[in-house]
């Protein structure tokens, strides 16, 4: 990227000083070997992209992709934490879950920074990234057994069965 960024400026400047005879020359003379007239057109395109608007979009994309980029890292942390319930894994899972949830809640503030033509997509990607993080954290909770996802977790709320018949008696008293 940096290599392509520098030459256009030089060319722009060079273009100013040699504009006059350029069309004639190009029509009269054969192009020197290795010269490609279409190369300039590429540069003009780049020129168009490199305006401040383009920078904003790029910056926004970085922001939008941030959560997704953390996913592999989170996966690694999750793997390292293990499934046993002790203070460190709990803390890690807590962090995993709190960060994306916080991000989701402060999404309005974050979206203010996202501008440009791709804003809608970026917002969606950012949201998606956070959701993926939350899902991952939930999966971790599940595998650690912290989610009430089994029937045993609801056992305390099971009502006793109602008695349909009443019986009594015992050993004969005669």
């Amino acid at each position: 990227m940096t290599a392509t960024r520098v030459p256009p400026k030089r060319y722009k400047w060079a273009l100013d000083s040699t504009t006059r005879g350029k069309p004639d020359r190009s029509s009269d003379l054969a192009s020197p070997p290795g010269y490609n007239p279409s190369a300039g057109q590429v540069y003009t395109e780049v020129t168009r992209e490199s305006d401040p608007n383009h920078l904003i979009i790029k910056k926004s994309w970085e922001l939008a992709l941030g959560p997704l980029k953390q996913v592999p890292m989170n996966l690694f942390i999750m793997y390292m934490a293990g499934n046993s319930i002790s203070i460190f894994p709990i803390m890690m899972v807590g962090m995993l879950i709190i960060r994306p949830v916080k991000a989701l809640f402060t999404m309005q503030n974050t979206f203010k920074m996202i501008e440009g033509s791709h804003a809608a997509g970026q917002k969606f990607v950012y949201f998606l990234g956070n959701i993926v993080s939350v899902a991952l954290a939930l999966y971790k909770c599940h595998s650690m057994g912290l989610l009430p996802s089994h029937s045993s977790d609801w056992l305390a709320f099971v009502e006793p069965q109602m008695r349909m018949e009443y019986s009594g008696g015992g050993m004969s008293l005669i």
Binding site: M80, H150, Q161, M162, M164, S167
Partner: protein, 925 residues
């Protein structure tokens, strides 16, 4: 991850290698020690020791500390304090026939007892300490089992014990008292024509017989060599041939003779030369007793008429009354039965004259001491040594709370009515408050004054006890004091199981209706059923003053499941003709309403038949029990020995059990399930024992199991979804405990209702057997209000301890090979032998003898269960199977906590003030 995995692996290997280590680890983790701190001794518990119904009594006339020795029908020898009636020492002999005491007497050194049948034991007990001085036994063939045919005589000058067997001829066989060496015996040359009735009037034997319509009194000395019998015709005095001869307990050889129809008793003093008739007669109904002191000539006649207990003291030889001592006393006839004198002693008092102490026992098994002239000194309620039924009831609410309750007891009257009612009741309460402050209010109720009101935690209860002689007691559970007692006449327990049935018809919750209990028993003579309803808090009868005769024999009984408008539950009775009755008759409509869902069953001990009855065919006129099923569980000589159903007040909180993979195994909680035990003998398997789990509504046998070479004692505990039973294994000669647990499976077939009839389910049964190093005499499970607290099993051991055994230890799911899932589930690996740690003995060193049963009752606290162990002794305590999780610890420092809180609040205020001042100063700078 890696590390934890390795650790897990290491643990699992360790588990496998040494289960003991694991168990120890687990024990440490679970902290299952239920010991008591030293300062808690006697704080939550009490023990009352009893001796039983007095059979023989002797005053101590030898040792310096005066006491009275008694031996009882419960096979107990004891010394009682003369002044207080407390037990100085007590020795409990063998159970049943082997410990039956035939004779007791004292020498200058020891109390001598003769007990047992096969062989006969002669024991000497130290007078002061009660320890065994010597013990020897007779060979078997000497003894003829009937008590009438064997008489005993102790000669304390010669130190010989004479055994007199009254067969066709009278054989006297002396033994050396301390060594038991048999001396040469002799035949007494009594000229007897027919079988006489004989008594021992030491040192003579007196026999009476009728020859040709003339009663003749024969007397002969036991001790003298070549003694000549002397016969004396009673012709001028007594004409009647039906004569009764009684020996008068005391120092002189005195017998009384009375004939049927005669109003008087004649007294004969026996001498070497023959019997001498005394020149006076005594009333026939008088109980006679002589002064126990040697060389004394005092005869006491005790006359009991309704409310008065008179004593006539006279000179034995002349019949002249001794004026000082002759007096009458008011007898507490409402709480004690008619008395019989057991022994008496008269001693000169400091201020000239004579003082006599009379030990008496009553028909209702109480024993007491009169002092003449003077008063009743003490009474011991020995009926409490034969408890047959127990209930624990909440006490009624206090007067102020009752006033509040009144506000809510009226029927719904709409918004306006409720509002005015509220205003009225609150003004009333305000008025009461003001009046009570000024000291003008109504006096508090009797219960309130006695402190018999419900406490916050429901720990204060009333223990209602029915005893084998038909005496009811109300005992305060915190102090152990008898609050009320009521004597019922002619009431006996059901002979088949020696039990009476005590039903709680209404608890104390339904203010203003008082609580009501009913006692079902048998009439002593006719055998028909009797019922007595009473208020369990005061002991006052609810209906008639005494027992009500039902007019039929009770075969089976049950409490109705539903209450009537007055919150009273009726009692359903099945008589011997399979007719159904309901008591009180006002509960008839309730019984009819619920007839479709009511079933009653009965198990016949002799035939081994279990039969179930349905009430479905009842109509509003008549209740009818129709036999709907019948199961015969025994064959040949097998016996049906026990039927155990679940506690009707039990509640199960958790409907399932969480497994290692976090799924649920649902419990099979069938409220109609009973455990039935049959025992028999088989030439191959010797004694065998079968246990059946029978659904008594449908009559289906849900599960059955058989044990070879197993015999009694069998004890069963049936609760929630499990059954626990113990038996003695003949093969390995040890007590084994088997547990069965019933599960529905991973899904509940019906989540809302349980029906035994509609689509019955076959439960999955887990079972496991354990060894208990000890002999079990009684077992019971703990019970709590909501059933959240884990269950423990209380096991009364023969050594007098009561063991609290966590259910976890006898869990049938304890695995032999430990899998990670099992470990996840939290079960301990299987070990056959159950631990009996001494800190799990809930009665620490308060040994309880001859336990008959254990009664458990929930308290208001979910964590706490109240326990009463009964038998010869009463022992009350409370246990907390899951520790007291719902109360603050006793040593909780309320003061420190409140001081710290207060301090912090004060400091925060001060610092706020200081901070604001500083901020102000800063602002001015």
């Amino acid at each position: 991850m890696k590390i934890s995995e390795e650790l897990n692996g290491c643990i699992s290997r360790m588990w496998l290698r040494s289960p003991i280590v694991c168990l120890a680890l687990l024990l440490i983790h679970l902290n299952l020690s239920y010991g008591l701190y030293e300062d808690q001794i006697g704080k939550f518990d009490w023990r009352q020791m009893y001796v039983g119904h007095v059979k023989f009594a002797e005053f101590d006339t030898v040792s310096s500390v005066k006491k009275v020795f008694v031996s009882t029908e419960e096979n107990v020898v004891a010394a009682l304090n003369l002044k207080s009636g407390n037990i100085i020492w007590r020795q409990v002999l063998e159970k049943k026939e082997q410990g039956t005491i035939h004779f007791m007497n004292i020498t200058s050194e020891a109390v001598i007892t003769v007990s047992g049948t096969n062989p006969v034991n002669v024991r000497g007990w130290d007078l002061n300490g009660g320890f065994l001085l010597w013990d020897w036994s007779f060979p078997l063939h000497v003894f003829i089992s009937s008590e009438e045919e064997n008489k005993w005589f102790l000669s304390d000058t010669e130190l010989k014990l004479y055994h007199i067997s009254l067969g066709s001829e009278i054989i006297v066989k002396p033994y050396e008292l301390t060594s038991g060496r048999a001396l040469e015996g002799s035949k007494l040359p009594l000229p007897l024509a027919s079988k006489p009735s004989c008594v021992v009037a030491a040192p003579y034997i007196a026999c009476i017989e009728s020859v040709g319509g003339n009663p003749i009194l024969h007397t002969v000395s036991i001790t003298a060599v070549n003694s000549k019998p002397v016969s004396k015709p009673l012709k001028p005095l007594i004409e009647n041939t039906e004569v009764t001869l009684e020996s008068v307990h005391g120092s002189q050889p005195l017998v009384s003779v009375t004939s049927s129809g005669s109003k008087v008793k004649y007294l004969f003093l026996i001498e070497e030369t023959g019997s001498r008739v005394l020149p006076y007669q005594v009333e026939r109904s008088a109980k006679l007793v002589q002064d126990s002191l040697r060389e004394s000539n005092i005869l006491l006649q005790l006359l009991y008429t309704n409310e008065w207990f008179d004593v006539l003291t006279s000179n034995l030889l002349t019949g002249e009354p001794i004026p000082d001592v002759t007096s009458s006393l008011k007898y507490p006839h409402d709480r004690l039965g008619p008395p019989t004198a057991a022994a008496a002693v008269c001693t000169p008092r400091k201020d000239k004259g004579l003082g006599c102490r009379v030990l008496f026992s009553t028909t209702d098994h109480a024993v007491g001491m009169f002092h003449y002239p003077g008063k009743l000194i003490w009474v011991r309620e020995e009926a409490l040594a034969s408890v047959v039924a127990v209930e624990m009831l909440d006490l009624p609410v206090s007067d102020t709370e009752a006033a509040i309750e009144k506000e809510f007891d009226h029927k719904e009257t709409g918004f306006g009515g409720m509002f005015t009612h509220r205003l009225l009741s609150q003004t009333l309460q305000l008025r009461l408050l003001i009046l009570s402050i000024l000291g003008l209010g109504d006096p508090p109720s009797a219960g309130q004054r006695a402190g018999l009101v419900r406490d916050e935690f429901g720990l204060h209860k009333m223990i209602v006890i029915a005893t084998g002689v038909g005496k009811l007691f109300g005992i305060d559970n915190l102090s152990g004091e008898i609050v009320w007692r009521r004597r019922l006449e002619n009431v006996a327990s059901y002979s088949s199981q020696n039990q009476m049935i005590l039903y709680v018809q209404r608890t104390t919750r339904h203010f203003p209706h008082p609580a009501q209990c009913a006692l079902l028993a048998r009439h002593k003579v006719s055998g028909e059923g009797v019922i007595f309803t009473f208020n369990p808090i005061t002991g006052q009868p609810a209906g008639s003053e005494s027992v009500t005769l039902l007019g039929y024999q009770i075969q089976q009984s049950m409490l109705l499941a539903f209450t009537d408008d007055n919150f009273l539950r009726g009692i359903l009775l099945l008589d011997q003709k399979e007719q159904l009755h309901v008591l009180p008759s006002s509960a008839h409509s309730v019984a009819v309403k619920s007839a479709g869902s009511t079933f009653i069953f009965t198990a016949d001990k002799n035939t081994g038949i279990l039969a179930g009855y349905s009430l479905l065919f009842s109509n509003s006129q008549k209740l009818e029990a129709t036999r709907v099923w019948e199961v015969k569980l025994t064959q040949g000589k097998q016996r049906l020995t026990a039927v155990v159903s679940k506690s009707p007040v039990e509640r199960v909180h958790s409907q399932g059990r969480v497994l290692g993979d976090r799924s649920v195994l649902y419990k099979y909680i069938n409220p109609n399930l009973v455990a039935v035990v049959t025992q028999g003998f088989d030439p191959v398997h010797k004694n065998f024992l079968n246990l059946y789990l029978v659904d008594v509504v449908s009559g289906s046998v849900v599960f059955s199991i058989s044990h070879k070479k197993a015999r009694e004692p069998v004890h069963i505990v049936h609760s929630e979804n499990w059954v626990l039973y113990s038996y003695f294994s003949d093969k390995s000669r040890r007590t084994e405990i088997v547990t069965l647990e019933l599960y529905e499976g991973k899904v509940q077939s019906n989540t809302t209702a349980f029906s035994s009839v509609a689509s019955p389910i076959q439960p999955i049964v887990d079972q496991q057997a354990y060894i208990l190093p000890g002999n079990i005499v009684a077992m019971k499970e703990t019970i709590t209000e909501k059933g959240i607290t884990s269950k423990h099993i209380l096991v009364a051991l023969a050594n007098g301890g009561v063991l609290e055994l966590p259910w976890m230890f006898v869990d049938p799911r304890r695995p032999i090979t430990v899998t990670p899932e099992m470990r996840e589930e939290g079960v301990i690996p299987y070990m056959p032998e159950l631990p009996v740690p001494s800190e799990s003995i809930i009665n620490y060193n308060q040994t309880v003898q001859r336990v008959q049963g254990i009664h458990t009752a929930p308290s208001g606290l979910e964590s706490t269960c109240l326990v009463l162990v009964y038998g010869l002794d009463l022992y009350y305590t409370r246990v907390a199977p899951s520790k007291t999780f719902d109360v603050l610890k006793e040593d909780f420092d309320h003061f420190l906590i409140s001081a710290v809180l207060l301090g912090l609040t004060v400091v925060s205020y001060i610092t706020r003030k200081l901070a604001s001042r500083k901020a102000l100063k800063q602002a001015w700078k």
